[in-house]
């Protein structure tokens, strides 16, 4: 084939600021930790709060990660996402209660097995529910945002009422598996064992999502579909199947988050998912629609901010995350790492 010698391309040398720009959101997490360290006089308290913030952030990330992909890939505003959190919590906690002999045994192995079975049960239940939710509720309203908001909120209400029918209207108080109760002391800080487990699970989920999205063909299709679904189809990929897969995976992740959130708060209610939706939406918006990395960083920022502010100025804790969202949107109006461009 004939070569085209007329225009030999060269790489433009980027300025330091340009090279740092993509990493700026990532630097916010350590920057916030340092800020917290300077503001909190006691190192032990700071470490406790930091681990608590990271654990809370990880759980919010797990709940929100599916929603950001659904937003990005399917352009669906799913206000019913909280239903999967609630159902996941109820199914998971029911499994743990059924396996109480394992959960209450003084054996870390048995406790973790009980937790694993609960998580698998919750993810299976919410995955199946996600498939039905997409088929019955979401599919008829693709492309209609207002209808999506109304119909998915309706779906959330129906699911909440079904939970009340099945498990009753009362709050259910629970205790964590035996070996995950209590705290370990490190550098003068009391670090709750469960929070450390939550941080570990959150990191695993994030690593797994990155692995799938960055290093597999299906991940490539999802990332491309978030940007230009029509072109992905023109290349020969059935985006509809990818839509369903992402919706199921997102619902299952919300179910996992529900189990963890329930054990974290040690009480579950039919409305817990709905209540968590405020934090989930904040995280999805400040992270940038469709971005798993943005969602991860946003969740950590929300968790850390809430814990630091609650310690330093309890009265401001309720509005701290709204303030964080306002500040980030003033800096980056499309969120920290937007994948979906303005339509």
């Amino acid at each position: 084939m004939t070569a085209a010698p007329e225009h030999a391309p060269t790489m433009a040398k980027m300025s330091l600021a340009d090279r740092l720009a993509p990493w700026m959101p990532l630097l916010l997490v350590p920057a916030l930790c340092i800020l917290g360290f300077l503001a909190i006089p006691n190192t032990g308290s700071w470490l406790t709060l930091t681990v608590a913030g990271l654990a809370m952030g990880m759980m919010i990330f797990i709940m929100a990660s599916g929603l950001t992909l659904v937003f990005g890939l399917m352009d669906v505003i799913n206000f019913g996402h909280g239903a999967f959190v609630s159902v996941g919590a109820f199914v998971g906690i029911s499994v743990i209660l059924a396996l109480s002999h394992m959960a209450e045994a003084p054996s870390l192995m048995l406790n973790l097995i009980a937790l694993l079975v609960a998580v698998i049960g919750a993810m299976l239940a919410t995955g199946v529910m996600g498939w039905a939710f997409e088929k019955v509720i979401v599919e008829p309203v693709y492309g209609f945002h207002l209808k999506q908001i109304l119909v998915t909120m309706g779906g959330l209400i129906v699911v909440e009422q079904l939970i009340i029918v099945l498990w009753g209207p009362e709050e259910i108080y629970i205790s964590r598996p035996e070996m995950l109760k209590g705290a370990i002391t490190f550098a003068g800080a009391a670090l709750e064992k469960y929070r450390l487990v939550a941080v570990g699970i959150g990191l695993l989920v994030f690593a797994a999502m990155r692995l799938v999205l960055r290093h597999t063909k299906i991940g490539l299709i999802v990332r491309a579909g978030v940007q230009n679904g029509e072109m992905v189809q023109a290349l020969g990929y059935r985006l509809r199947l990818v839509f369903i897969g992402v919706f199921i995976a997102g619902s299952a992740l919300a179910g996992l988050g529900g189990v963890m959130w329930g054990l974290y708060q040690e009480v579950i209610t039919a409305h817990m998912g709905n209540q968590a939706m405020i934090l989930i939406f904040i995280v999805v918006i400040i992270g940038g629609l469709g971005s798993v990395e943005g969602c991860f960083i946003g969740a950590l920022l929300v968790g850390l901010t809430q814990n630091y502010v609650a310690f330093l100025e309890p009265k401001l804790a309720l509005i701290s995350n709204i303030g964080l969202m306002v500040a980030i949107l003033m800096w980056r109006p499309m969120g920290m790492i937007p994948v979906v461009k303005a339509k």
């Binding site: 084939m1 790489m11 940007q227």
Partner: protein, 240 residues
């Protein structure tokens, strides 16, 4: 002329309340470059988008090698061997050039010999292989868009205005790449406003107006007849 690889029979396409295609008849011979010409807004892009299935034909039939693809979903049409280069290039800007190309290899891995051929045609793609496609210039994005369609052997290429808004040097590169594609015996349906490129590449030409095909014939005949050009397209294309 050889058997058509693509045939449109009395195709109508509506977009909302607008009737864009109003009975299009078109034949694309195998192993040749067929030009689709006409003024802006006459339905050329809609014709291509209807063939690939982005928009549905409300009436008529689209036949690919004799098989009716009118109602097939877009992915099935693409997998039947139709490569599509849209007018807006359809680049995945947050993916690297490599990832864009990997995605284009639907049936498996990228063929290294084919990739060498693409790199020879479009050297910048090799230079920026690991760069995000969004950082490429307009011409390089267009090269990537065409290279993506060329990533695997297709039965038919639908290419929509590949030289639009490009500098003359890059237009030459595009024209050479398309000529090489043609020399390999590819079947191409090409929408092109640059008449010099159309004249150099086209074997046959079809001129549209108002959602219909108003003239079909040899490209050479259209290229040499200024009066015909003026009558069909309202201006002398030789001036371009």
């Amino acid at each position: 002329m050889s058997e058509p690889i693509l045939k449109l029979e009395d195709v109508y396409t509506n977009i909302a309340q607008y009737h864009i295609l109003q009975g299009v008849n078109l034949e694309v011979p195998a192993g040749a470059v067929t030009m689709l010409l006409g003024r802006n807004g006459v339905g050329k892009t809609t014709t291509l988008r209807t063939i690939i299935g982005h928009w549905r034909a409300h009436r008529g039939r689209i036949l690919l090698d004799g098989e009716d693809i009118t109602t097939l979903p877009t992915p099935s049409i693409a997998r039947a061997g139709v490569g599509f280069v849209p007018e807006d290039m359809g680049i995945f800007s947050d993916l690297t050039v490599e990832e864009n190309m990997v995605l284009a290899a639907v049936s498996g891995k990228l063929d290294s010999a084919r990739l060498d051929w693409i790199f020879q045609a479009f050297p910048p793609l090799k230079t920026f292989w690991k760069s995000e496609a969004g950082t490429l210039s307009g011409g390089q994005k267009q090269m990537l868009s065409i290279a993506r369609a060329m990533a695997e052997e297709r039965r038919l290429y639908l290419i929509d205005e590949p030289t639009k808004g490009l500098a003359p040097a890059i237009v030459s590169t595009m024209a050479r790449a398309l000529r090489d594609l043609k020399n390999q015996g590819a079947s191409v349906l090409l929408v092109e406003q640059n008449f010099a490129v159309a004249k150099a590449l086209g074997d046959s030409a079809n001129v549209m107006d108002d959602g219909r095909m108003i003239w079909s014939g040899e490209m050479a005949e259209l290229a040499t007849d200024a009066a015909l050009q003026e009558r069909l397209m309202g201006l002398s294309m030789e001036a371009h």
